[in-house]
Amino acid sequence: MIQVLYFASMKEASGLASERIKWQGGTLGEVMEKVTDLHPSISWDGVRVALNEEFCSGTQEVESGDIVAFIPPVSGG
């Protein structure tokens, strides 16, 4: 299992702040494909991905127990 976190517009598109997804291994890119299957209305425009609170590229391997967060364009400050 991995935990997936949604924020801001992605939270509204998915209707979820977080969810647990069954995971046998694979890359962050593959997590994104899985999430697209689950929530076809999500827009990936400008979205970055964080693995365990660090920005990562889509080729990064994700293991069971990891936390994946999708980071839409930030607007703090």
């Binding site: 976190l5 924020f7 801001a8 517009s9 939270k11 509204e12 400008g46 964080a50 609170e53 660090e54 920005f55 967060a69 980071i71 839409p72 364009p73 930030v74 607007s75 703090g76 400050g77």
Partner: protein, 140 residues
């Protein structure tokens, strides 16, 4: 002890962050406070709401402070960002930087604000007269 890099749903007191960076070697403290603005390009904001990925946001604020230490080794930094609902003129962010002399305090402060706007996972929702938008996806 107060947190140097903090995301909180409580009101922000700039004096607290200034005090956190005050020390005998520091002659200068530059403090930036970002406030909820009512009017932006003719559109009226009624209120704002900020949301954050809190642990990652605090971790990246700390990373930014480390970047500051590389560029300005004598700088000390404290940052607070508020989340939740905010009213007009409320403080959304406070950045305090102390340095021995003043020029570096302004420069490091500007650098931190730029970096916050690039990388810290915090999102602003504007509640305006004609709807609500997460910033970055406004109706054009």
């Amino acid at each position: 002890m107060d947190k140097r890099y903090e995301v909180t749903d409580s009101p922000l007191d700039p004096g607290k962050y200034i005090a956190m960076v005050t020390r005998p070697e520091a002659g200068a403290v530059a403090t930036f406070t970002g406030h909820v603005r009512e009017w932006t390009k003719g559109r009226r904001t009624l209120s704002l709401a900020y949301e954050a990925y809190v642990p990652m946001a605090e971790r990246i604020l700390e990373t930014i402070a480390e970047e500051v230490k590389v560029k300005w080794p004598e700088a000390e930094v404290a940052v607070g960002h508020r989340i939740g609902p905010l009213a007009i003129s409320d403080i959304a962010v406070v950045v305090a930087v102390s340095t021995p002399h003043r020029h570096a305090s302004y420069e490091a402060n500007r650098f931190i604000m730029e970096r916050i706007k690039e990388d810290v996972p915090i999102w602003k929702k504007e509640i305006q007269e004609d709807g609500e938008w997460w910033k970055g996806e406004e109706v054009q």
